[in-house]
């Protein structure tokens, strides 16, 4: 009985490893060599209420505002994923895909293209020449403890801003002050945008080195969730990767943590490395459906 169990586990493991070996063999390929421009573009978007989507669709005029109406013209059949990681995985796996993610999340798994000839770099976002950008906000209810205030001060300090820049985000403070450790203890609860979360994690690590007695509880489920959590007081700090709506702003204190570029990403095998903003918009509203229609 034991032997047969062992045998079955080994068979299964073998089968699984064969499956995975099979897919690693498929991936390599020379860029551009077999890129078929007649194929349909796989349009990848974020889900309806993500901060990245809100910002990107507004900047790229995918959301059309007319009088009192606002309509998101995203092409029918566009894939929608509820996280940056899934967008990256989807683009990495699909030669003909296009997607958008926060600049800080760009890795070698995918390729970030230039928009209207401007590379998505930190310098270009800071100078304003790269047009696809948005603010990263931290919001609090205004009744926060000394500890939370101290952490917020840290994020705006020279040390905090250095980490922000290191993460390829653009620090929003012009002349940041030095931070001195306060030696406080306690718990800070943070919730919100999945785009801000990686930066928040690094900031927390650095803060912990200076103030080892502080613990963090972080939940990243999107800007609206973070804002909601800050308003109802279930979390101390909300992270948002979009501007606050008027009714939200009236209830919250708003700190600009950084400015983030949104990178337009394609598969590494895609020969295009520069897209016109108009073409990107047209891809997302369905006016352009094939790569050979892109300039």
């Amino acid at each position: 009985m034991k032997k047969s169990k062992l045998l079955s586990i080994i068979t299964l493991a073998l089968m699984l490893s064969m499956v995975f070996a099979g897919c690693t063999q498929e991936t390599p390929g020379t860029p551009a060599a077999d890129f078929d421009f007649d194929k349909d573009i796989t349009v990848v978007a974020r889900d309806a209420a993500s901060g990245t989507r809100g910002a990107f669709h507004e900047i790229m005029n995918i959301i059309v505002k007319e009088n009192d109406t606002e309509v998101d013209k995203l092409v029918v059949g566009a894939l929608e994923f509820d996280g940056t990681d899934k967008v990256i995985t989807a683009i990495e796996g699909d030669k003909y895909g296009i997607g958008y993610i926060s600049l800080g999340s760009v890795s070698e798994r995918i390729k970030a293209v230039a928009v209207d000839g401007v590379e998505p770099t930190v310098e270009n976002v800071r100078s304003g020449s790269y047009s696809v950008s948005r603010p990263f906000l931290l919001v609090t209810k205004g009744t926060e403890s000394k500890l939370v205030k101290d952490f917020l001060k840290f994020t705006e300090s020279a040390e905090g801003q250095a980490i922000t820049n290191e993460m390829k985000f653009i620090g929003a403070i012009d002349a940041p002050e030095e931070y001195t450790a306060s030696g406080m203890s306690g718990t800070i609860k943070v919730a919100g945008s999945t785009s801000v979360a990686p930066l928040m994690e690094k900031l927390q690590e650095a803060y912990n080195e200076l103030n080892p007695d502080v613990t963090f509880e972080t939940q990243a489920q999107g800007s609206s969730q973070g804002i909601k959590a800050a308003i109802d007081g279930s979390y101390d700090i909300g992270m948002a990767s979009r501007e606050l709506k008027a009714e939200e702003a009236s209830e919250l204190n708003r700190y600009v943590l950084a400015i983030d570029g949104i990178a337009v990403i394609v598969n590494n095998e895609n020969p295009k490395s520069d897209l016109a903003a108009d073409d990107i918009t047209n891809i997302y509203i369905g006016e352009i459906t094939k790569w050979n229609e892109v300039k």
């Binding site: 498929e26 209420a49 029918v76 894939l79």
Partner: protein, 292 residues
């Protein structure tokens, strides 16, 4: 003294057992209450027909529209696909396991099926995204995120349910049925397919309905392979992406607020109604069998 003590013990234990029974009932009631209290007002605010029979879902548009018809149809298609793929394979596997399988093969196949049931759905989703989606893209066309991919993944996921329940119901058919069949000169194959399987019909049907329940409620695996696009009804195709009721809730829940959030809970209400219908048909089947 002795008897009073044991009487007291008995009463206490009875209360504890009763409470345990009560908790599961309370849990169902609490979920119902939560769903309907949050969901029904939203449905009436959106309008029943505008919610159920409208294919336009645009929660961030101004004015917003909250139609879930496309997702209802999506859930039905994906589940039907899972049944088409999962039931024949599962049923044949169950027949093989219960009637034809040599002992040494049984010792490998049965634990493998049980293991299949224990794999978390996120793993299925990851497997689907990395293996099934590229497979569909390369062999069938489209971008791979499609009804077909979701159906394949769900077809695999419902296999253990169908196999285990069908197998045990075929095994539960009395030996005398088979003996009678052999007695009038039937072969092994005739006996299995014309006597044993028909006799196990209600158990097999139960396994299919439980499989449907599993498929229609599955979320994490589907969200990673279906593409989650809200398709107008006339554009739904086998190789195009789709959004189901469950993936609608999971993709947007954490970000939603206000009526958008309530509309997602209402989506849960519709899903709940589907499950109630499934459970009702399940008890219909079992009551029918008992009468027979």
């Amino acid at each position: 003294m002795q008897t009073r003590q044991s009487n007291f013990n008995e009463i206490v234990m009875q209360a504890i057992f009763f409470l345990s029974a009560l908790i599961s009932v309370l849990a169902v009631l609490a979920i119902c209450l939560f769903l309907f209290m949050r969901g029904i007002p939203a449905i009436s605010e959106i309008g029943f027909t505008d919610f159920i029979f409208n294919e336009k879902w645009g929660p961030v548009n101004i004015p917003a529209s909250y139609g879930i018809l496309s997702m209802i149809v999506g859930s039905i298609y994906v589940t039907a696909g899972a049944i088409v793929i999962g039931v024949p394979i599962g049923l044949m596997c169950a027949i093989f396991l219960s009637e034809f399988c040599p002992d040494n093969i049984y010792k490998i196949v049965k634990p493998a099926v049980n293991l299949l049931a224990g794999i978390p759905s996120i793993i299925y989703g990851f497997f689907g995204m990395q293996v099934i989606v590229p497979f569909v893209r390369e062999n069938f066309g489209g971008n791979g995120y499609s009804i077909l991919s979701a159906s394949i993944i769900l077809g695999i996921m419902i296999l253990p349910t169908i196999i285990s329940i069908s197998e045990s119901s075929i095994r539960a058919v009395p030996e005398s049925y088979a003996e009678g069949s052999y007695g009038i000169g039937a072969t092994k194959e005739e006996t299995v397919f014309k006597v044993m399987v028909p006799a196990a019909k209600s158990g097999i049907l139960t396994s299919i309905i439980l499989g449907i329940g599993r498929a229609i409620g599955e979320t994490m695996a589907v969200v990673m392979v279906a593409g989650n696009a809200v398709m107008p009804l006339n554009k739904i195709e086998l190789l195009k992406p789709i959004r189901t009721l469950t993936t609608n809730i999971v993709t947007e829940m954490s970000y939603a607020s206000g009526l958008h959030e309530s509309a997602l809970i209402s989506t849960g209400v519709v899903l709940f109604v589907f499950i109630i219908i499934l459970n009702a048909s399940l008890s219909l089947i079992s009551s029918k069998t008992q009468r027979n």
